[in-house]
C-alpha cells in the first residue's frame, strides 16, 4: 500500500475544505485536498441564492450589523445554536465576503438611483443612495430582519467556488481528485490521516497527516427526495462516526427546503421568494399570510415547509400524476428580473419542467435540503474527542445553526469556518501535540482492515442488492423521518433501518469489474449511510420536543426545560445496532439572547426557569451601559472575540458607522 505523507490532509474540496486548506498553507504547512470529484464540481457550486453577511450597503440592508445577524441566526436556530459560535460567525462573515471580493467574486453591486422591486405582491419604486453605489448589494431571504444575502445573480455558489478553487490553484495546493476517504487512521484518541480509495483504479492508499480535516459536506442522499447532489452521501461524517471516538452532533436536525421542484427535487432558490415570489395553492390562492401574517412566505424554512405540508394535508394541494404539490409564482417579478437575477432558476424550469417561469407557475414541494448536524467540534473546529481531527462546513456541527439554518448562512459558514479552522489547524501543527508520531504498523493495520472489508463485499456470496438497500433506506427516511415526525413511526423507522443494516452485511455483487466498480462503491457506502440514517432516526425518536426543523406531532412544543441540549451520537463498535446518544447541555445563563418566541411559527413553548433569571441579568447589564457603544454592550453580555484568531478580531467598517 502506497503511503503519502503531508502536514495537513483536508478531506473535501468544497468551499469549506479549500478555504481551510488555503489558511493552513499560508501558514507554511503542506496541504493535500482529497475530493470525490474535481473540486469545482463540489456541491458548493450549486448554491444559488446568496451568502449572508451584514454589510448593510443597499437600502433594504440599511442599519444592518452583526448584532441583528446574530439575533436572526439564534432565532432561526430555535435557540439550538451555540451563541458564542454564532457571534464568531456573524463577526467574521463581512471579512469573508470582502476577502472573496478581492479574490475575484463578481458580487452584484448597488446601483444608485431608482429601481422597481416587488414586496408583498406589490411593485414599488425605491431609490438607492449615492454613497452605496458600487458596493456589494444584497437580497431578502427568509427569517431575516434585513436584506442580507449577498449574491452573484443566482449562481452565487458557483462564483464563490470557482474563485476559491482558483486561489487554491494559485497557492499550489494539490487536489487529489476522485479519491475517497474510507476510514480515519487513529489510535489512543489521536487521528493520523486516512485510508483512501482511488475511484479510478480501485487502489487503496494511506494518507498520513499531522492534522486531518473533514469538509465533506452534507448527507442529504439518505433521503429519497433531496435537493442535494448525488455525491452528498455523508461519507466524511460516517468515517468519523466509525472511529467510535469522535461524535456527531444533532443528527436529527435536518432541514427541508420549501421549494424543491416537483417531483425531481431540484432546488429553486429562496431568492425567488426573497425577491417577491409567492406560494399559491390549487385555487391559486396565496395561503402563507393565513398562517404567518407577519413573515408570510419569508418565515424561516422549517416553518414555511411545515405550513406547506399542512396546507396540502388540508386538501389544498395541486393534484398531478406524481402526487400533490403547490405553486411558486415568480411571474410578478417580470421578465427582466428573472432573466438577470434568477437565470439558473429559469434554466432549471426550462430543462426539467419544460416551462417558462416568466409566464408559468412552478410546481414545488418541500424536499430534504441541509444537514445541521455533523462532526461535533469545539469553537475552533477541532473534535473534542479525537485530537488532530478537525471539521468545517456542512459536514461539521460547529453549531451555529442549531435546529434550523437560515438561507444564505451556509455558504457563509463554509468560508468563515474555513478561515478559522485553517488557523486552528496551523496552530495545532505548530504545537508539540501536532508532531507526527505513529508506527507504520498502525497504518498497515488500518489499510488491511479496509482491504478486508472491501474483499468481504466483493467475494461474499451475499444475495442482497446494494442498490435495493439504498432505495429502501431512502424511502424509510423520506416517509418516516421527514417534516412531520411522530413516536410510533420513528420506532418503525429505527426497526426498519436495523433490519436493513443486518441485510447490508449480506450484500452480493453482480459485477467484479476491475477499477472503481460503481456497484462496490454503492455497497460500501450504503453500509455507512445506514449508520448515519440510524443516528438521525434514533436521535429524532429520543428527542421528545419540537425545535426548529425537528417537529414531533406528538410533542409539538419546544421544551426548554428538558431539551436545552445537543445530541451527541457515537457508534460503539462495528457490530453495534444503534448509536449511543449522550447530551451536552446548552447553558441559558451564558446566553446573550435567552430563549423566547422566534417572531414566526408557534408561540407556545415550555420555558426553563433560568430564562427569566438570565433575561433580567441581560436587561440589567444592557441598562447599565445604555450610553456605551454596541460593541461594549455586547462584550459585557457574552465576550467572544478571544475565541477568534487574532487577525479576525477587529470591528468591521460600514457605511455610516464609526468603527
Amino acid at each position: 500500500m502506497q503511503i503519502i505523507y503531508t502536514d495537513v490532509l483536508v478531506i473535501g474540496g468544497g468551499l469549506a475544505g479549500q478555504r481551510a486548506a488555503i489558511g493552513a498553507k499560508r501558514r507554511g504547512h503542506d496541504v493535500i485536498v482529497l475530493s470525490l470529484v474535481p473540486a469545482k464540481r463540489s456541491h458548493s457550486a450549486a448554491a444559488q441564492g446568496g451568502m449572508q453577511a451584514s454589510l448593510g450597503n443597499c437600502l433594504g440592508a440599511a442599519g444592518d450589523n452583526e448584532d441583528i445577524h446574530f439575533a436572526d441566526t439564534v432565532r432561526g436556530s430555535d435557540w439550538g445554536a451555540d451563541q458564542e459560535v454564532v457571534r464568531m460567525f456573524t463577526h467574521t462573515a463581512p471579512k469573508a465576503i470582502r476577502e472573496l471580493a478581492a479574490w475575484g467574486v463578481p458580487w452584484n453591486r448597488v446601483a444608485r438611483g431608482e429601481r422597481e422591486i416587488t414586496v408583498d405582491g406589490q411593485r414599488k419604486t425605491i431609490s438607492e443612495p449615492d454613497a452605496a453605489h458600487g458596493l456589494i448589494t444584497s437580497r431578502n431571504f427568509g427569517g431575516t430582519q434585513k436584506w442580507r444575502a449577498c449574491y452573484v445573480s443566482d449562481g452565487t455558489g458557483h462564483a464563490m467556488l470557482y474563485t476559491m478553487s482558483n486561489q487554491a490553484i494559485a497557492a499550489n495546493i494539490p487536489v487529489h481528485e476522485r479519491m475517497e476517504a474510507l476510514a480515519l487512521i487513529h489510535a489512543d484518541g489521536r487521528c493520523h490521516g486516512a485510508i483512501v480509495r482511488n475511484l479510478m483504479t480501485g487502489e487503496l492508499l494511506a494518507y498520513v497527516a499531522r492534522a486531518t480535516c473533514i469538509a465533506t459536506g452534507g448527507f442529504g442522499r439518505i433521503y429519497r427526495v433531496s435537493t442535494n447532489a448525488i455525491i452528498n452521501e455523508g461519507m466524511g461524517a460516517a468515517i468519523a462516526l466509525e472511529t467510535g471516538v469522535a461524535t456527531l452532533g444533532n443528527m436529527e436536525a435536518i432541514q427541508f427546503h420549501p421549494t424543491g421542484i416537483f417531483p425531481a427535487g431540484i432546488l429553486v432558490t429562496e431568492g425567488c421568494r426573497g425577491d417577491g415570489g409567492l406560494l399559491l395553492d390549487c385555487n391559486e390562492h396565496r395561503f402563507m399570510p393565513d398562517y404567518e401574517p407577519e413573515k408570510k412566505e419569508l418565515a424561516s424554512r422549517d416553518v414555511v415547509s411545515r405550513r406547506m405540508e399542512e396546507h396540502i394535508g388540508a386538501g389544498h394541494g395541486v393534484k398531478s400524476r406524481f402526487g400533490e404539490h403547490l405553486w411558486l409564482d415568480i411571474r410578478l417579478l417580470g421578465a427582466d428580473h428573472i432573466n438577470n437575477n434568477l437565470r439558473e432558476v429559469k434554466e432549471i424550469c426550462q430543462y426539467f419542467l419544460g416551462i417558462d417561469p416568466v409566464r408559468e407557475l412552478i410546481p414545488v414541494r418541500p424536499a430534504q435540503h441541509y444537514s445541521m448536524g455533523g462532526v461535533r467540534t469545539n469553537h475552533r473546529g477541532e473534535s473534542p474527542q479525537l485530537q488532530g481531527l478537525f471539521a468545517a462546513g456542512e459536514a461539521a456541527c460547529w453549531d451555529m445553526h442549531g435546529f434550523n439554518r437560515l438561507g444564505g448562512n451556509s455558504v457563509a459558514e463554509t468560508v468563515v469556518a474555513g478561515m478559522i479552522v485553517g488557523d486552528t489547524i496551523a496552530d495545532f501543527c505548530d504545537s508539540t501535540a501536532g508532531a507526527l508520531q505513529l508506527s507504520s504498523a498502525l497504518v498497515q493495520e488500518f489499510g488491511e482492515r479496509e482491504r478486508r472489508r472491501l474483499a468481504e463485499i466483493a467475494n461474499g456470496k451475499g444475495r442482497e442488492s446494494a442498490f435495493e438497500l439504498a432505495r429502501l433506506m431512502q424511502e424509510t427516511m423520506t416517509a418516516q423521518v421527514g417534516i412531520f415526525r411522530e413516536g410510533e413511526r420513528l420506532e418503525q423507522a429505527v426497526a426498519s433501518l436495523q433490519e436493513l443494516q443486518l441485510r447490508s452485511r449480506n450484500i452480493g455483487l453482480r459485477s467484479s469489474a476491475p477499477g472503481a466498480n460503481p456497484e462496490l462503491v454503492t455497497a460500501y457506502r450504503v453500509q455507512r449511510m445506514l449508520k448515519l440514517a440510524q443516528c438521525v432516526a434514533y436521535g429524532a425518536l429520543q428527542r421528545t420536543e419540537s425545535r426548529g426543523a425537528h417537529y414531533r406531532a406528538d410533542h409539538p412544543r419546544r421544551d426548554d426545560l428538558n431539551w436545552m441540549r445537543r445530541t451527541l451520537a457515537s457508534w460503539p463498535s462495528a457490530d453495534a445496532r444503534l448509536p449511543v446518544l449522550t447530551y451536552e447541555p446548552l447553558d441559558i445563563m451564558k446566553m446573550e439572547l435567552p430563549p423566547g418566541w422566534r417572531g414566526y411559527g408557534a408561540r407556545d413553548y415550555i420555558e426553563h426557569p433560568d430564562t427569566g433569571v438570565r433575561q433580567q441579568q441581560v436587561d440589567a447589564i444592557g441598562g447599565g451601559l445604555d450610553r456605551a457603544d454596541r460593541h461594549t454592550r455586547q462584550e459585557a453580555l457574552m465576550p467572544f472575540r478571544h475565541l477568534l484568531p487574532e487577525h479576525l478580531r477587529n470591528n468591521n467598517e460600514r457605511l455610516g458607522e464609526e468603527s
Binding site: R41, A101, A102, G104, T137, E177, F352, G515
Partner: protein
Amino acid sequence: MNRIPLRQAARTLRIQILRHNPRDPDSQPRLQTFEIEEADAMTLFIALTEIRERQDPSLQFDFVCRAGICGSCGMIINGRPGLACRTLTRDLPEQITLAPLPAFELIGDLSVNTGKWMRGMSERLETWVHSQNLESLDIDAMEAAMEPELAEQIYELERCIECGCCVAACGTARMREDFVGAVGLNQVTRFRLDPRDERSDAAFYELVGDESGVFGCMTLLGCEDMCPKDLPLATQIAFLRRRMAATT
C-alpha cells in the same frame, strides 16, 4: 373528430453506449445496447442510473448535481456534446447513442477526466486574480467599489462550468493536444476584463499569443454552438484575438 389526446404508449428506448474499461486488460471498445421503458420526464441521468441499477452495475458515468450546474456529465449524445443530466429523453429519438467526450483521458465508459485537463488549463493560464496585495488584504475595511454593470459582465463570462463540451466540439483541440480551448480563452477574457487582476495585455499575450492559444482557433464555431451555458465564446475569442494581435 376526437380532439382528446390519447395517452401514448410508453416508448422503449434503445440506448447504445460506447463501452471500454481501460483497467481491464481484456476490455475492447465496443457498443452495447440497453433497452429501457421511457418514463415521464425521464432524463439521461434517470435512464443511465436505471440501467446501472437494473441491468449492468459495472456501467461508468459521472453525475454530481444532476441539475445542469456542475458540468460533470458532458458526453456525446447522438453525435453532439451535451449535459446528460438535463437532456430529456422525450427530446430524443428512440435510438440513442452515447459516447464519452473525446479529447479527454478516458476513465471508463462515459466517464472522462475533465478535472485533470481543466486543472492543467488553469495552471497554465493562471486563471486567478493577480494582485500585489492579496496576502495582506485589510478585510476589516470597506470593499472596493465596482460598477454594477461590470460585475454583471464578469459574471456573464464566469458562468462557464468547465464541462468540456466546447473542447469536444473543437476542431483545433482534436488536432492539437496543447490547445487551451474556448474554455481557456474565455477565462482569459474574464480575467482581462476584471480590474482586480493587474496583468497587462503583454502578460496575457505570453499565455495565449500563439497557436496553442488564441491564434489556433479556426473559427469553426463548434464551441459556441455546443456551450450548454450559451456563453458568447466565438465573440470573446474574436475579441481577444484582436487585442492580442494589437499587443505585438
